[in-house]
């Protein structure tokens, strides 16, 4: 306080001045100068006291004392630097681990959306008792969907475009916007062809979000019309990396999937995508959707009420309450889905009349695309050839070949469940009239969810592991706290004489408590500062691990922000008080006289009277051991899960396999040209030196992508559909993947011709599509019956389309894992791949990485404008699939070892301290004839008992909490005895080592020296 300093500095002068004036007055009254001065001074009073009192006016007492405490605390810590170092390091590890994990949670879960006033932004979410009768549903994975075949209470965030327009018309929001994933875009016109990711957004998207352009302009409503000139807006980062941030990028024309777009602007830097974790390189108006998509797959969805594909955002009006808007939107939605009288299914795919069995009325092109493939990507997911009844369910990530970056970015929530799911609209009691989207008792409603919580995106996938890790680091912090508390207790015991002396000299007890708490907080603060360093390093390591395992860099901004710093400060204070309070209060509960006496005379009581303190010390060590066991058991289970997943028999040889996606239709190839392109590439790749064989399939195995199809199995009711996974594969797929045949043969050229003619739909297919099935398929549908030659999935001609001859089984292969490792192998049929985007599998003779350049060259020879997508090896892809398990197993393992180390340091500290205290007793024992072994046992026994007690308590706690891990485990029980036994043994073993060091020192106690001591 500058004011106080100035005032006090001048105080002396002021007083002198005052006394001079008084003297002067006195002289004027006739006193002699000497008398006058004397009288003035007397009248003024005690100058020293006045100064003191004046100074006191300004003094903030507690601040002064705090400063004193801090200086004293620092001196104490300097004096016992070993203690301080151990304590600070322990705390830094605990605080650092917590801060690191919290900074991830902060980045992934808590950071607010990068838009203006995010709290006003809501996302629309529909829910109903039963699934609506629609024939297309797409979710880009921005918010969780729960749309399952015949499942009760489905919900989701995708709406049809007509609904979007109605939402806008209700005028309930100050702004409304809709968006959908534009899918993988092949970009040409800016250097070599590349794949980028784009989002289709309504014209008012940026305006609604309140975003500005960093260059050029934003998209506007006028851009979002089929007749408007096609325009694009770039991501700031993408503009920097691919256009060098050049101003003249605005106005340039690029080609996306062969369609020309003019770049009109760049979005401001902070905005990389509305959903955290999923960024886009480019934004296009919704109306541009048909330009970048296969028309057949696009299916004129902008006009359809039965094609739900848009996520809708609204900005709440500041004056209108949210519930009012919600009621209005919900009423509109209910009205739309219940009372629309327009035909539900297009082009004669009407609902069956009463006499007709339901099977014929299933729309041909039902699609449910969840968690991934965007409109353009969806082109690769038509119904399987030859199966007009087939409808396709794509679950999980979009296939790299097909859905590409959509997939890369947003994989389905784990574990992708696909079995037993099917498209909507399979309810047997199809209504005849009117053709409604829903029935009143479905109770369709819309809720408005705050966009921050509603747009989970990739966050959902990280939530569970992050919370598990947060729990683990929380335990570590507790361990660290109790560890330091133990150290402090031991020190407090050593300082009892000092405390007693201070109390005897008149120090207030609270003053001493405050002094000790200040020391604790100093330790905690130092730990916190060092912890932030650890945390920065740790979260950076974790993020780069995560990023390396994503097909696309995951762009969660991490780093210290105020929230993280606040968190660190809070837990540092918390830990400081937590471990400091008990020792502090113990210290002042001292009976002064005996302590002082004890200090000055030889202490006669050795360990008596301190029993209470040691029981606290013991309790702390037992607690640490127990906590360590809890973390270790959890870590053990997660490590075992990873091991189990790694040792799964995937059914094919995943080594030496390069995979990449390539889709010639993005470069204008059509129908038969696509097939001949693939054959050509396959031939050239096979001839490349180092390649043993090559093939392709619609999606690679174990990429997270999954397709399923529905068909009627002969002998079952027409309205009962059966489901099987399906994968379209190219020639030599099975030999390349090394999937052995159990019976029958592979696909031949004529099989591909049948498939091609069925797919082209130029003529009704005459012969059934040949399929190869797996053992699970045989087991489920055929039992002991001979599968070869078996036909299924036939259907009669109907409004849906011409009659279909269905499928014929020509071979049986071994079971393989399809989309991911956790999913059970299920019935699977392979069909000949034709006319769709595909992924190549290249079997190499040796290191697959070495062949990557050769593969790129080979593709470029055919067409340099065709970008490769997701070029990787199968092993890397499996690693990516397992990245969450790997991340959690590694980190929890690391944290488990950390907890173990802390607990053992605690044990060591306790025993070492006790040996020091009991030196005299040990000396006497030795003098009386105790052998080295006896002394050793004395110390080791205590340590072992503590470790065992801790282990037992820890196992008890672990059994109580590991069930929360169940969802993350694979093939290992949450109560796995093996894990529990192994980690307990590990703990006891390490504890034994920690005991041995002080125990050995105890055996070296010289009886004479010990007795002479004191």
């Amino acid at each position: 306080m500058g004011r106080s300093k100035r005032m006090l500095d001048e105080l002396d002068a002021d007083i002198r001045e005052h006394i001079e004036r008084e003297t002067q007055d006195n002289i004027e009254r006739g006193m002699t100068p000497e008398e006058a001065h004397y009288a003035a001074v007397r009248k003024f009073g005690n100058v020293t006291r006045v100064k003191e009192e004046t100074r006191d006016v300004w003094r903030v007492v507690w601040l002064d004392e705090l400063w004193q405490d801090i200086r004293y605390g620092l001196r104490m810590l300097r004096k016992s630097s070993a203690f301080a170092a151990v304590a600070v390091l322990t705390l830094a590890l605990g605080i650092g681990a917590n801060t690191a994990i919290f900074s991830l949670i902060d980045a992934v879960m808590l950071r607010s959306l990068p838009v203006e006033k995010p709290s006003e932004l809501v996302v629309l979410r529909w829910s109903a008792r039963k699934a609506p009768r629609i024939n297309g549903y797409m979710s880009s994975g921005d918010c969780p969907s729960n749309l399952r075949y015949a499942a009760a209470n489905p919900s989701g965030c995708s709406f049809s475009e007509p609904i979007f327009r109605e939402v806008r018309n209700t005028n309930q929001f100050s702004g409304v916007a809709a968006f959908a994933n534009a899918g993988p875009l092949a970009l040409t016109g800016n250097g070599p062809a590349s794949m980028i990711s784009g989002q289709l957004v309504s014209g008012d998207f940026f305006h609604t979000l309140g975003l500005k352009a960093a260059a050029g302009r934003e998209l506007e409503m006028s851009d979002d019309s089929p007749t408007a000139a096609p325009v694009a807006v770039l991501n700031y980062g993408y503009w920097q990396s691919s256009f060098g941030g050049a101003q003249n990028a605005v106005g340039r024309t690029i080609e996306l999937n062969g369609a020309a777009f003019t770049i009109v602007g760049v979005v401001e830097q902070r905005f990389t995508g509305i959903t955290p974790g999923s960024d886009y390189d480019v934004w296009l108006p919704l109306a541009a959707g048909p330009r970048i998509s296969n028309p057949r797959m696009w299916d004129n969805r902008e006009e359809k009420v039965t094609y739900w594909w848009l996520t809708i955002l609204g900005r709440l009006k500041t004056e209108a309450p949210m519930l009012q808007a919600q009621a209005a939107i919900s009423g509109m939605f209910r009205n739309e889905v219940l009372h629309r009288s327009i035909p539900l299914f297009e082009a004669g795919a009407g609902m069956p009349g009463p006499p007709e069995p339901r099977g014929g009325g299933v729309p041909a092109s039902r699609q449910v695309v969840m968690g991934g493939p965007p409109p353009a990507g969806a082109r690769a997911v038509p119904p399987p050839p030859g199966g007009p009844q087939g409808s396709t369910v794509v679950q999980g990530a979009a296939p790299p070949a097909a859905g590409g970056q959509g997939a890369a970015r947003i994989q389905a929530p784990f574990p992708p469940v696909a079995q037993g799911q099917a498209p909507l609209d399979a309810a047997p009691d199809a209504p005849k009239e009117p053709r409604t989207l829903s029935k009143p008792d479905d109770e369709p409603t819309v809720t408005l969810v705050n966009a921050q919580t509603g747009l989970t995106g990739a966050r959902g996938r990280f939530a569970n592991p992050l919370y598990v890790l947060m729990f683990a680091v929380g335990i570590i912090l507790l361990t660290a706290c109790s560890n330091v508390a133990g150290l402090m207790l031991a020190r407090a015991a050593a300082r009892q004489k000092e405390m007693a002396l201070r109390l005897a000299l008149g120090a207030g007890r609270m003053r001493i408590v405050r002094q000790l708490l200040t020391e604790s907080l100093l330790l905690a603060a130092s730990g916190g500062i060092l912890g932030i360093v650890f945390a920065l390093w740790g979260s950076h390591a974790i993020i780069s691990f995560v990023a390396n395992n994503q097909p696309r860099p995951l762009t969660f901004a991490t780093g210290l922000d105020l929230r993280v710093l606040g968190f660190t400060v809070a837990i540092s204070l918390f830990t400081g008080i937590l471990f400091g309070l008990a020792p502090a209060f113990r210290s002042v509960r001292v009976d002064v006289t005996p302590r002082l006496k004890e200090g000055f005379s030889a202490s006669t009581k050795i360990s008596r009277g301190v029993g209470g303190r040691f029981s606290i010390g013991n309790a702390l060590v037992v607690t640490q051991m127990a906590l360590a066991i809890v973390v270790l058991v959890g870590a053990g289970l997660l490590v075992r899960t990873l091991q189990n997943l790694r040792s799964i028999d995937v059914g094919f040889d995943s080594h030496n396999l390069v995979i990449f996606g390539i889709n010639p239709s993005l470069a204008g190839y059509q129908d038969a040209q696509i097939d001949s392109f693939y054959r050509d590439l396959q031939g050239r790749l096979t001839e490349t030196p180092g390649v043993k064989s090559a093939s392709y399939s619609m999606v690679p195995l174990l990429s997270g992508a999954l397709m399923a199809t529905m068909f009627n199995w002969p002998g079952t009711p027409q309205d009962r559909e059966s489901e099987s996974d399906v994968l379209a594969v190219g020639p030599n797929f099975f030999s390349t993947m090394q999937i052995p045949f159990n019976a029958g043969r592979g696909f031949t050229a004529s099989d591909y011709e049948i498939a091609a003619s069925a797919a082209s739909r130029s003529a009704p297919p005459a012969v059934p599509t040949p399929v190869i099935v797996d053992q699970a398929f045989v087991a489920k549908f055929l039992g002991k019956e001979n599968p070869l030659g078996k036909r299924f999935g036939q259907s009669a001609a109907s409004q849906d389309g011409p009659a279909s001859p269905g499928y014929e089984i020509i071979g049986v292969v071994r079971d393989t894992k399809y989309s991911d490792l956790r999913r059970e192998t299920s019935p699977m049929m392979y069909v000949p791949q034709t006319m769709q985007g595909a992924s190549f599998e290249v079997r190499t003779a040796s290191d697959p990485q070495a062949l990557v350049p050769a593969i790129r060259r080979t593709v470029a020879q055919i067409n340099p404008n065709l970008p490769l997508r997701d070029l990787t090896t199968e092993s890397q892809q499996i690693d990516r699939l397992l990245f969450q398990e790997r991340l959690v197993a590694r980190l929890s393992g690391l944290f488990g070892l950390l907890a173990l180390a802390l607990a053992c340091i605690g044990l060591y500290g306790l025993l070492a301290y006790e040996v020091t205290r009991r030196t005299r007793e040990i000396g006497i024992r030795s003098a009386l004839g105790a052998q080295r072994g006896d002394v050793l046992r004395l110390v080791v026994n205590q340590g072992l008992w503590l470790a065992l007690a801790g282990a037992a308590a820890g196992i008890g706690v672990a059994l109580g909490v590991t069930r929360y891990l169940k969802a993350m485990l694979y093939d290992v029980s949450a109560y796995d005895p093996f894990t529990i036994v192994v980690v307990s043994a590990l703990l006891v073993l390490v504890a034994l080592v920690a005991c041995l060091i002080p125990a050995r020192r105890a055996t070296n106690v010289d009886p004479m020296a010990a007795l002479r001591y004191e």
Partner: protein, 115 residues
């Protein structure tokens, strides 16, 4: 000084010095010695202020921002520190004065209930 005089002088009540200082500064700024003199003079020298105790009080009032300090020259052209009533001090003086009136009144009623 005679003993009679001494008896008639009254020690200040706790806290009243602050009030007196504020009141003294109401007409205009003054320096420390002048304040002490004024209090003595205005109370017909009944109130005995130990002049030194003025200083902690002045500092207390400065800290509360009821008075402010400014440099100036005194009547005999010497540099001096003048204390001035602030707006907050003026307000405080009103509050304190009315408090004092109430207190004095209450005590008077107790001491002379008959009147």
């Amino acid at each position: 000084m005679s003993t009679k005089e001494e008896r008639e002088r009254i020690e200040l009540l706790q806290g009243t010095l602050d009030l007196l200082i504020l009141r003294t500064l109401l007409p205009g700024p003054a320096h420390g010695h002048a304040i002490a003199k004024a209090i003595e003079f205005n109370s017909d020298e009944v109130l005995q202020v130990e002049q030194g105790s003025l200083y902690p009080a002045l500092h207390r009032l400065i800290k509360r921002r009821w008075i402010a300090v400014e440099e100036g020259t005194s009547e005999n052209n010497r540099r001096a520190k003048f204390y001035r009533l602030t707006r907050a001090g003026r307000k405080q003086l009103k509050v304190e004065t009315s408090k004092w009136d109430k207190l004095a009144g209450a005590i008077a009623r107790i001491l002379r209930p008959a009147e």
